[in-house]
Symmetry: C2
Subunit: 153 residues, 2 copies
DNA sequence: GAAAAGCCTAGTTGTATTATAGACTTTATT
DNA sequence: AATAAAGTCTATAATACAACTAGGCTTTTC
């Protein structure tokens, strides 16, 4: 039940972009190499991930000198579920309970298959969390926690 | 976020064994080839899986003619979480929130890492379901549903 | 026109999953 | 005692996928 590195890096990058305060600049842009440096990730690998996210409509970018990436929408309108699905595919642990990519799993009677019932619950529990947590929720939670712990950042 | 075939087959087999009514026999024994046939699985692959489950103490077996496998404990004392962990390892999507196999994941400040916070929630949600669902719960749920749908079996 | 950024696709490497094979042990039956 | 039916155990093949690496292309700014 693992999150892939693609998923992990992509989620981290998106959270970082949501965190980046937009000072004077019209757009809070962040560059691949900056993220790669801060997260200690291969820049080339991250590049692919951000490109995927961009092609999925979650990020926008600006080419050329002074360019970079920025969130396609306000951080409260982008959920972790959206990001996760783009990078790691369906949330469901087994295809026969997937909303995104249903496929029969070959049990004799799907309607009363016990495994399917339980895995359906698991799917829903995961999706509930990921689809109801926006990037804004994450950054808010982080800063609340930092304040509580008295950490400057 | 996928369940492996090992995990799927193992869980199915365990559910099937819990389902098998123990008629007169002292032990409700089931044979590899019977499970393989009913679930349309490679018998050799299933063999490895059941052996793993046996070595983990979840199954007992009897060798020789008329032998087979049976649950090591009553079905209400075996949880899906136990089975899952034996076959698929930790439930946590990311190591830094694993109870079973913690490992730092390399974020600058783990204590306030947003991804970690959310993945911790996901881990807990999954573990809550799997650790609180016993094989007996599954078979009960199946039979209730069958009755409700008027399916004989 | 050169440098700095992102865009895009293909290829490589390593590892885990899935499955297969086969020789061995135990038990029941005849 | 011999045979057949079952599980035990280990090795290995085949495949797939994840995680990267590489390199050329395009756009933008100065």
């Amino acid at each position: 039940m693992r999150l892939s590195k693609r998923g992990e890096y992509g989620l981290r990058a998106m959270i970082m972009m949501a965190e980046t305060p937009s000072p004077d600049a019209p757009l809070p842009m962040v560059q691949i190499k900056e993220i790669a440096l801060r997260e200690q990730i291969s820049a080339k690998f991250l590049e692919q991930i951000l490109l995927t996210l961009k092609n999925a409509g979650l990020l926008h970018s600006k080419m050329g000198v002074g360019g970079g990436y920025y969130l396609a929408r306000p951080s409260k309108e982008i959920t972790l579920g959206q990001i996760f699905r783009v990078l790691d595919g369906p949330v469901a642990p087994i295809k026969c309970v997937s909303q995104m990519a249903y496929e029969p799993c070959g049990c004799p009677d799907e309607q009363t298959c016990g495994l399917r019932l339980v895995m359906g619950d698991v799917r829903n529990a995961i999706a509930d969390i990921l689809d109801n947590t926006s990037l804004a929720d994450v950054t808010k939670r982080q800063s609340t926690l930092r304040k509580k712990l008295g950490i400057k950042s």
